[in-house]
């Protein structure tokens, strides 16, 4: 519960705000291109597909890595440094069961939920910009979006990506924290390492998920 609160609820503001802004940006960007072809009705399809298939899971994973993954790595690394994990071991409590795996599982659980909220906020942001600012017809925006987005290809693919990224971030953050040197430099190294390795591996996994499974 505490881990889900830290990783999920505290990431909510940053995820929701980024989602809304990314959706709005996509609307603005897509509109300037599409309006040249008189195809601004397809804006909903563009925003929907881009956000659901790619940007939703990937950006959420990057944000959560930066916000919650680094915090988890730092927390575990500090526990290593201050010998709290050794204390647990002395009481014959396995620190993996008691400290490490709940945090990794929390990230795994939280990622698809945050990705879902990110996508909903992005679609809402895109809709508001498109309809309110650019004057695209609201019905054609949602209509083209609903026509283009397919449940099995796009929505299922999106959430399987989010779950994969959640598992990746959880494993990397907890592992980097767990193996850190018991020094102040070790804590900082594990935090930096988590963000760098997790972000890069999220992007690499995203590429291979797209390429091999067409998710």
């Amino acid at each position: 519960m505490a881990d889900v609160f830290d990783a999920g609820v505290l990431s909510l503001p940053v995820v929701c705000l980024s989602g809304a802004v990314v959706g709005g940006t996509l609307s603005l960007l897509g509109y300037t291109t599409l309006v040249r072809f008189g195809a601004e009705e397809a804006l909903g399809a563009l925003v929907g597909l881009a956000v659901i298939r790619e940007l939703g899971p990937v950006l959420t994973a990057l944000l959560v890595t930066g916000r919650a993954g680094s915090a988890i790595a730092a927390e575990i690394a500090t526990m290593v440094t201050t010998e709290q994990l050794d204390g647990l071991r002395m009481m014959s409590v396995d620190p993996i069961d008691f400290v490490v795996s709940p945090k990794a599982l929390a990230l795994l659980l939280v990622m698809p939920l945050l990705a879902g909220l990110f996508i909903v906020f992005a679609l809402a942001g895109g809709y508001m910009i498109a309809v309110g600012l650019l004057g695209v017809d609201g019905g054609s925006f949602t209509g083209s979006m609903e026509g283009a987005v397919k449940f099995w290809n796009d929505v299922v693919g999106s959430f399987s990506k989010a779950i994969t990224f959640g598992a990746l971030t959880g494993l990397i953050a907890t592992y980097r924290g767990y193996i850190s040197e018991p020094t102040a430099a070790g804590v900082s190294a594990s935090t930096t390492g988590t963000v760098v390795i997790a972000s890069v591996s999220i992007l690499v996994f995203d590429f291979f998920l797209n390429g091999f499974w067409g998710v």
């Binding site: 879902g116 979006m145 449940f151």
Partner: protein
């Protein structure tokens, strides 16, 4: 770690809204609905289905009434499509099936047009009157042939 009811409530709300957003995306945006197979199967055989795919819509007068279940070759090498449609429609045996395209380059779907016969189709029956998919390449080919552009 002490228990904190307020925090647990917030976590519960967070999970609830997360699941609600996933549900919204699946149902409203993704178009997922599960009515189950209606059990009323019709078979239509076409010479050419174009890029019709399983799960494509079956419509009557523009209203979706079912979907394509499977497409396979039959023993005389025509495309045999199994359609799952709403059993309450009461389609008669003169119903015809045509493969249409949404817009100029959009997705293919099967359009049914009821006939005027008294006898009704039963589940598993075959629709005899079918119109194949219109392929732009074939049309252009025909046009080129007819206009004599290819003559020596």
């Amino acid at each position: 770690m002490q228990r904190s009811p307020l925090r647990d409530l917030i976590v519960g709300l967070f999970v609830f809204f997360g699941l609600a957003s996933i549900g919204y995306l699946s149902i409203n945006v993704g178009g997922l609905y599960y009515s189950g197979p209606s059990g009323f199967k019709l078979v239509a055989t076409f010479d050419e289905v174009g890029d019709l795919k399983p799960r494509a819509a079956v419509v009557i007068a523009g209203v979706k009434v079912g979907q394509v279940v499977s497409i396979e070759l039959d023993d005389i090498l025509r495309a045999r499509c199994e359609l799952d449609v709403d059993p309450s429609l009461g389609l008669d045996v003169e119903t015809s099936a045509a493969i249409m395209t949404a817009g100029l380059l959009g997705e293919k779907f099967v359009a049914l047009e009821p006939g005027g016969a008294d006898e009704m189709l039963e589940s598993g029956d075959e629709i005899d009157r079918t119109v194949s998919a219109l392929s732009i390449e074939n049309l252009v080919g025909k046009f080129v042939n007819d206009s004599g552009l290819e003559e020596d």
